[in-house]
Amino acid sequence: MYPKQEVVAMLLAGGQGSRLGSLTKKLAKPAVEYGGKYRIIDFPLSNCVNSGIDAVGVLTQYQPLILNEYIGSGQPWDLDGTNVGVQILSPYQRSKGASWYSGTANSIYQNINYIERYNPDYVLVLSGDHIYKMDYSKMISFHKSKNADCTIAVIEVPINEAHRFGILNTYSDGEIYEFDEKPEFPKGNKASMGIYVFNWKKLKYYLKQDSLNSDSTNDFGKDVLPYMLSKGEKMFAYKFDGYWKDVGTIESLWEANMDLLNSENKFNLNDNLWRIYSRNPIMPPHYISNIASVKNSLISDGCNIYGEIDTSVIFTGVYIGKNSRIRNSVVMSGAIIEDDVDIEYAIIPENAIIKKGSKLGKLQKNQKLKITVADYTD
């Protein structure tokens, strides 16, 4: 017998993140590094723990090795309880065949057994590709107060960018009357954040319906949610107004890192009341040498800095050689930048080695922002 959980969180972490190019060649998008020492998945996991959610299923499919190893027993997030905690849910074989997760909804459908053992009232569906701090318990209270069947978190985006998002059109009380996926002529600016709360009984019913529909792509956004709305279920939008960043592209991942260097930005990762937990590597403090210079940057443990760093995020265990200049860049963990290297507007992937004298990512005048990802595979 498992103790009943009011809420079970299901974290969709199987995506490839193909728009992140070589950064996701060997790891799933939620395992991509961010912010000098974190991986993206630290944010939804820490949010769950800080919101009092103890049962978290993580659905993995694409390149799961690094992600599985990283999550491990869940101990860094305090998710290694006896009956609750984090559970990796990968596709599996049944007595009658086996199948990959064919879509976001299908991955939950295939793990109904995991959810059922906790007999929850609500299921919280999260995605593993956003950077934000959010108290899910407030969203669940909202869901209850509206007596809703499904609540979707939304963030207001500038109307001229609304065409890039899934827009939810609502009545004044927040009830959703229309989904407008990437609309050419948006009627509103409430963009879906990919965070859903469902009444579990309702969700289970619709997941089963969806699995019987051979025309469905088994996706929440495209299939299940519009179908629920068409059947007249009560669906609400929950407005979130903190920092939220989709890091699905190389440019947005770079921007999200640069946001941490902007003193105007209120997104604080050192908040004692809302810690972001992560698997901390065991390394001594970083060393700044006599000939180094560091301005407006984040630097993590274990680095050895002999060069010049300006407006950059340097991850754990990086080496920056003499006379090397790193500006407006992100250098991921374990990378070695040899001497006399010049890097600007670039992302250096984990464990990359940048040879002596290399030049990377110079921007031409008036050129649109373009971030170079160092071409390195180990």
């Binding site: 912010g35 065991i282 700044i288 560091v294 991850f315």
Partner: protein, 371 residues
């Protein structure tokens, strides 16, 4: 490697008198070191990396901060189904007895005798080094030794309390030691680490107690020098003994040398410690940092030279910090000037203050002060 034949015993509070001010509010083992460590991290990690699977930590005095730091032993992989970490506080009689190594070992004799391991490694928390104890066991067995003393060659550290100096030896077979000599030439002195056959340890400790001869170095080692096979093991790597406040300051400053860091924090034998979820250190646009070690969680807006900042330190704009050790979560206000200072944790130095020590006498500001 899961488990070898050594039982580890760490004395968390021996030799704390050498560094009284920093140890006032804590045990020797919980003294902060090197930006993110505590002294006990070194013996604990060395033991774990050497395959020692059962470690007893002998504590007394104010060991609350030590317990908070080591917890279940998880960071050192010593939170195990079988064996792992054992905290050994004084449970009866006089707590001060635990300041004496012979009396402490006698008091925990059941723990030692009930262990299946055949060898016991005794280790204090006053030596910062990265040492492989498995190698010492190998030599101990090859030598058919009863006791192996780990030593280092060099001049005695200043103000060292009761050093053991090997005065006569053939190869590594020791035939005489002297205790607490006044010598200023190079010698072989002990690092307060002993590998001892368990049976001998138990028997001789009981003998010592029955005669009330309770000086470990004199009554256990020196008096038995002819009776047992006592060997030395010369440690040639980097080591630094924390024998005084000056030595503490210098040992910390030695971390600025790249070769010392590479050796001490060897990635194949890491020094583990309790972690805190701090974000990476943040540097402001006016910061200027040279030759310093900076930990996660720091915010550096001012100038820092030849200094060590522990996690969560905040150096505000216009402040200038040189030759300092600033412990965790301390805040240095705007336009402060600090030179040769050791500032303990959770301290606030208000704006515009100036404090200058000297290389030979760094000043010390206690835990949770406001200046």
């Amino acid at each position: 490697m899961r488990g070898n034949n050594i039982l580890g015993l760490i004395f968390a509070n021996m030799s704390k008198n050498s560094i009284r001010e920093i140890a006032r509010s804590r045990t020797m083992g919980s003294i902060p070191f090197g930006g993110r460590y505590r002294l006990i991290d070194f013996p604990l990690s060395n033991m774990a990396n050497s395959g020692i699977n059962k470690v007893g930590v002998v504590v007394n005095g104010n060991y609350r901060s030590l317990l908070n730091h080591i917890g279940s032993g998880k960071p050192w992989d010593l939170s195990r189904r079988n064996d792992g970490l054992f905290i050994l506080p004084p449970i009866s009689g006089n707590a001060e007895d635990f300041d004496n190594k012979v009396k402490a070992i006698f008091a925990i004799r059941e723990f030692i005798n009930d262990s299946k391991e055949e060898y016991v490694l005794l280790c204090d928390c006053d030596t910062v080094c990265n040492i492989n104890y498995a190698d010492i066991l190998k030599r101990h067995i090859e030598n058919n030794a009863d006791i192996t003393i780990v030593y280092k060659n060099g001049t005695l550290p200043q103000k060292i309390i009761k050093p053991v100096v090997i005065s006569e030896k053939n190869e590594d077979k020791i035939s005489n030691i002297i205790i607490n000599p006044e010598i200023d030439y190079e010698c072989d002195y002990g690092l307060n680490m002993y590998l001892i056959n368990k049976g001998i340890l138990s028997n001789v400790i009981e003998e010592c107690m029955s005669r009330n001869e309770v000086d470990f170095e004199r009554d256990f080692i020196q008096k038995n020098i002819k009776r047992f096979n006592i060997y030395g093991y010369k440690f040639e790597g980097f080591s630094s003994m924390i024998t005084s406040s000056d030595a503490y300051f210098e040992s910390n400053m030695a971390m600025m040398k790249e070769d010392v860091r590479i050796e001490l924090f060897d990635y194949s034998r890491p020094i583990y410690t309790k972690v805190r979820d701090d974000m990476p250190a943040r540097y402001g646009s006016e910061s200027n940092v040279k030759n310093s070690l900076i930990s996660n969680g720091c915010i550096v807006e001012g100038e820092v030279y030849n200094s060590i900042l522990f996690k969560g330190v905040h150096i505000k704009r216009g402040a200038k910090v040189s030759n300092c050790i600033i412990m965790q979560d301390t805040e240095i206000g705007e336009h402060c000037r600090l030179d040769y200072a050791m500032i303990d944790k959770n301290t606030i130095i208000r704006s515009g203050r100036s404090m200058m020590g000297f290389a030979s006498y760094p000043i010390y500001i206690g835990k949770s002060s406001v200046v």
